[in-house]
Structures are given as structure tokens and as C-alpha cells.
Subunit: 387 residues, 2 copies
């Protein structure tokens, strides 16, 4: 068994692990990332909406603040990333239009608008006619909508590629293997044994393995973060040059209780998402998932039927009990968390990097991240176990 | 330029070209097949229904006779093929159930049944309840159906693999290149120049290039067979072991005027087809094609929604003016046709091999194939040109 030492071992090379490794390596910390295919993970499947305002949920105002703060950092973040790597992340400040397809949707969207306004968020109510003026391919039956000019997009695959290069350039080392087992000495995490036989001894270990973080071998049961897989199926269509621009901004709706959205990239890719399924670890693309996405998107923008369908894919979001991430020091010494980002992993990438950088510098969370402390469920988990 | 001589040059290595090459090589004829990827073609996309009776069309009784004759040859054909190659073709004598989902469908299916009966074909009318007794996963609303125990299936990809090996074993040579140009000397076809620079000089050239047969360079305009591409999109689902057998036979219906069918393989593959689109040479899988197939199949067998969707694919059938194949000697000396099989390429593979074998022996079509003579549209085409 080969042994390596590091200041920081990052378990998981998705966008969250990569941004953490980048920020660690920038600080001169000897950083190792363990992942069989770095740059993959849930971001490979994700649409890349930066939708802090349109995805606002009642009762999640705390998370909203983090989402808004991360969205605000995006322009500088992608500029820094491009300067460091020469790679473009496909950041597109295009705005979003959330529409209502019937009277019930309209009432729900009106309520959301009132809630947004009460929080001082920028969203503009449009009539159905004005929605179609903005996006002529919308279904004729659209009853109204919310124009949110601050909810943008990034291309998660390009973002991952840029982060991978940035982390490498800053000096992070990559081992192309899974973490087979987290290693502990008493109450202290000491690193991990990897699937290729490498033993990494690290002063600090960051779990950034998405939903896998919740079942990594080697940790005491009550130290495993309470993250679970939330399956998402997503499609990619292609807008042929002669039909471009098909849509000029992200268009979304709630159809029969399910969210459906169309995210148009500059390069002609049109991402159609997404299901949200709590079926464990299964990542099969199903006939029903694809059918419902196409059916709902067809109600929203009938003209999609003529577009080539180029990819069908499913991934697993790391869901947490309150839909917010788990960040920073865990109750176990030497172990940090950067997981549980659920639907917001792409949006929260810039601020997660900043939070983890701050933690690596100071050992503590910055104030704005305290509500997302990694240990906030630890007591609850223990209580449940002892009941 | 490398020159090769052959008794028979087969242009196209799909199942029709392969069966032709096999029969030619078995006769001791020096046979060359030109195809960039032999064993591919429309059969790679096809479902492999052998549905002479359920796909009966009014006005196509002549074609019916050929279809029935080929279906009758299938058991011996696949036995011979397996004996020659050790490969199984996935022939499955499972029968077919064609069902009606509403009163109009039911009336149409009743008419078809009467027509089938008038021709002495074996089909049995079942109540909706009896249909569901046979296939419990059928939609509860099924109004009745036709049980056709003689319409079976084969796996076209396995069939193609077996034919490829059979043709090779019998001595056929393969050049992995397209025919760039058919060569003529006066009124006589002399072979072809291939994309890799090979020149094949052949006593007889068989066009078996599917819909490409209609636009091969080098032939006089009025010698090009009148075949056109008819696009079909098709899906493959997977039946997990714990849900098998999902269906025990091919199940089909007409939904909103479109044919939809589910073909269950022994190995758990479930093929869901197919669109029929006259959009030229485009082979894109489209959002609308996939959507409609899933929608219609979901009406037929609601439980498909839970099955993994493993493949989406589009191919081009070689359509002819009367939906029947063009077989045997063409008006141009040295040129034979084996194309235009439209929806029936897999079904007609055994008899096409026999017809072409007979033609290579005798120079003439067997009596039963005379209605499908390759030259039957030549006069019409010339007349149209001179009008």
C-alpha cells in the first residue's frame, strides 16, 4: 500500500470537491482529490440554472440568502476561473421566465410573486401576451408569468472542466480512485484508503462526495452526514442553426405539480429538466421519466417536438433534511463537510469554495454560513437513534 | 487504384445484402460485399416483427403472399443459419396481439379481421377481457383484439450478425467501404468504384443498399430504383428480471392513427416502435418522435413507465412506390436489385435470399416473385420523364 500525506484530502471530484480543492491549493495547502472520474458527478447531469429567485421555497429564506450571495459572486467567480484556466464556463446572464399554464398555476405564481416582493426580490409580473412577446414559442395558452432578470445559467460540464484545470494549475493532486474507507484514529479522522490501494494521511479530510457522502465506509454511524440520493432525469435537445434562437432565456413552469424547465445554451444545446425522484440509488433513465418531461415541456413550448433529442441521462442530487448544504467542520476532528447541496450545487459552487477556504484558513465558518454548519443534524440523529 | 474481380458484387451489407451474398457464395460464386459497416443498415434499428397477418394492408394481397411465404420459411432459415454459424438469431414464435383502445379502433380491427378471414388467414377475435387475460399488463380500457398466433419475431441485430458470419464462412469477401460510383460500359453495369479506392469488376452487381440504392452515383437516371427513405424512430426498453415476463408476445395497436408496438425479447429487451416519417434523409431522433411513441405505448401498456429506457434510435426504411420490394434483374444488363423492402425487410430476408439465389442460378425470377420484378416501375419512370 502506497502512503501519501496531504494537508487536505478532498473526497469527491465533482464541482463542490473541485472548487474546494482549488481554494485549498490556492492557499498553498498540499491538496489531494480522490475521485475515479474527476469533473463528473451530479453536475454532469445538471442543467445549471442559477435560479435563486424563481426556485424560492416557502420556509427556506435562510437558504435564499446563501443562494443570493452565491449568485452575486458568479460574475467575478467565472472571471477568475477563466483568467486562471483560459476556459469559459458558459455563464450566461440570460434571465428566467416562469410561466403559468392554467388558472391554478397563475394563482400559485401570483402568491410566489407576492412572497418574492415581500422579501425585496426583483421579479416582474407579465401578462400571457407579454410572456409570448418575450418568448414567441411559448404555448398560446400561457396565462401569465414572472420575469426574473437576475436568474441566470452556467454550463455545469464546462464549469467542471474549468474547475478541474484550475485545481490542477493551483497544485492539487488527483488520484483517480474512490475512497474505499475513511480512516480514523480515536475521535479523529486521519484520511482515507482509496480503491487503488493508496493510503492518504491528511490533516483535514473534506467529504464532498455528493450523496455518496452519506454512506462512506469507515466513519462512525453518527458521523455520516444525513444526505440521501434524489434522482433527477434530464434531456438534452439540439436547436438547429436555422431555428435559433429558439428561446432567449430559461423558461419554466409547474405542470401537474412537477417542475419543468428549458435552459437554452449559446451553443444550441437546450436542456430539458428534470424529474425529482426518491428511489434510492437507481440511476436508470426510465420510459416514464422521459415521457413526462417531454409531455410537460411540450405543453410549455410545443415546438420542441421538432428538435433532435441528443441525450437522456439521470443523476443523483445529494438531498439533506432541510434542502440546504452541510458546510465546514463536522463534530469529528479532522473532518469537514461540503455536501447536501440538493438542487443548488451549481448555484452554490462559488460560495462553497469561499466558505471552505475560510474554514481551512481559520478553522471556523464565516458568519453568513453558520446556519449551514455541518454538525447541525448531529444531535437530532443521535436523539433518533436513542429513542 | 486496386482492382478486384468478382462474379457477384453486392452493394450494401445490411441483412438483404448479406443474405444475397450468403446465397451467392454458397453457389460457389466469387462474391464481394461493399459496405463501410456490414451488419448495420435499417435492420440495426428494426424491431424484427414477422407480422404478415397483423400488418395486412388493403390492396396489398400480392405482397401478402410473398410475406406469408417468407414467414413460412423462417423456421428452416434460422435453423440453417444457426447450423452454419453457431449463432442464434433470436427467432421467437411468440405470436402477436393487436388490440383496440376505443370504439373506432375496434370497428377498424373488426374490418381487418373480416378481411383476414376472407383471405383464409388465421386470426382470432378476443374480447377486451380475454386480451387482458392473455396480457395482464394491457390497459384496462382495451376494447378487444386480434390474436394472431402465426406472427412471430426475430432479433434483427442477431440476425445480421449471424448472416455476416454465414456469408463470410461461405467465402464472401467484404470491403469496408461505400460504393462511390457504379460503373457502366455502354448499357452494361460492370461493377463499382468503392470509397477506399478499390475498383470491383463484377459479372453481376446487386444493389442492396436500402434507400441509398435510389441515389447511387454512376447509374443512368432512369435505372435508379424508385426507393425513398422512410424514417422510423424506435426505442429500446429493458424489463428488469423481477418484472419479467412483462409481455409474452408482441402487443400492438393503432393510437390516433399511428402504429405502436411492443416486441418483447427473451433476453428482457422490449422494443417500442415506430414512427413513419417522410422527411428525406434526416436520421435525428426527435423530441416529438420519442414523446409520441412513449405516449402511445403508455396508453397501450401503462406499466412501461417504470422500465429503463436504454436506447433511442432512428433509421431509414427503403420505401418503394407500392411498398413491395424490387427483386432480381433490372433493365440494365449486369444489374440486379434487392431493395425497396420498406417495412418488411426482416420478414422478407429468407425469401429474398432464395429469390436472388434463383436469379443468380437461372437469370430469371422464380414464378412467385414475378410481381416484384425490379423493372416494374421502369416504364412508368420513363413515361413520366417524357411527359
Amino acid at each position: 500500500m502506497r502512503t501519501r500525506t496531504a494537508d487536505v484530502l478532498v473526497v469527491g471530484g465533482g464541482i463542490i470537491g473541485l472548487v474546494t480543492a482549488w481554494r485549498a491549493a490556492q492557499r498553498g495547502l498540499a491538496t489531494v482529490v480522490a475521485d475515479p472520474s474527476p469533473g463528473g458527478g451530479a453536475a454532469h447531469v445538471a442543467a445549471g440554472m442559477l435560479a435563486a429567485v424563481t426556485e424560492l421555497q416557502y420556509g427556506e429564506q435562510t437558504l435564499l440568502d446563501l443562494n443570493l450571495a452565491s449568485a452575486a459572486r458568479y460574475p467575478d467567480f467565472v472571471e477568475e476561473l477563466t483568467a486562471a484556466t483560459g476556459l469559459d464556463s458558459g455563464y450566461r446572464p440570460c434571465g428566467t421566465l416562469a410561466v403559468a399554464l392554467d388558472a391554478d398555476d397563475r394563482a400559485d405564481l401570483r402568491d410566489l410573486h407576492a412572497f418574492q416582493s415581500s422579501l425585496g426580490l426583483d421579479a416582474q409580473w407579465l401578462s400571457g401576451r407579454d410572456c409570448r412577446r418575450l418568448e414567441p414559442l411559448l404555448a398560446p395558452g400561457v396565462r401569465g408569468g414572472l420575469r426574473v432578470d437576475g436568474d441566470h445559467q452556467v454550463d455545469p460540464r464546462r464549469l467542471a472542466a474549468a474547475l478541474l484545470r484550475a485545481a490542477r494549475s493551483a497544485g492539487a493532486d488527483f488520484v483517480r480512485a474512490k475512497a474505499a474507507r475513511i480512516t480514523c484514529a480515536g475521535d479523529r479522522v486521519t484520511g482515507a484508503e482509496l480503491g487503488d490501494g493508496t493510503r492518504v494521511v491528511a490533516a483535514r479530510t473534506v467529504l464532498a462526495a455528493g450523496c455518496e457522502s452519506g454512506r462512506l465506509p469507515g466513519l462512525p454511524e453518527d458521523a455520516l452526514p444525513p444526505v440521501r440520493p434524489v434522482k433527477g432525469q434530464i434531456l438534452r435537445l439540439r436547436v438547429p442553426a436555422e431555428r435559433a434562437p429558439f428561446l432567449s432565456r430559461t423558461v419554466r413552469a409547474v405542470v401537474r405539480g412537477s417542475h419543468v424547465y428549458l435552459v437554452p445554451r449559446e451553443n444550441g444545446e437546450l436542456v430539458l429538466g428534470a424529474t425529482s425522484e426518491e428511489f434510492g440509488w437507481d440511476t436508470a433513465v426510465t420510459a416514464g421519466g422521459v415521457y413526462e418531461l417531454l409531455r410537460d415541456a411540450h405543453e410549455l413550448v410545443p415546438g420542441i417536438t421538432e428538435l433532435p433529442l441528443t441525450e437522456t441521462l439521470a443523476g443523483l442530487r445529494p438531498g439533506s433534511p432541510d434542502n440546504a448544504p452541510l458546510l465546514g467542520p463536522s463534530p469529528l476532528e479532522g473532518l469537514l463537510l461540503a455536501t447536501g447541496h440538493h438542487r443548488n450545487g451549481v448555484l452554490l459552487t462559488p460560495i462553497t469554495g469561499d466558505v471552505l477556504g475560510h474554514v481551512l484558513d481559520s478553522g471556523e465558518l464565516p458568519d453568513y454560513a453558520r446556519p449551514f454548519a455541518a454538525g447541525r443534524f448531529a444531535g437530532a440523529a443521535r436523539r433518533e437513534q436513542t429513542v
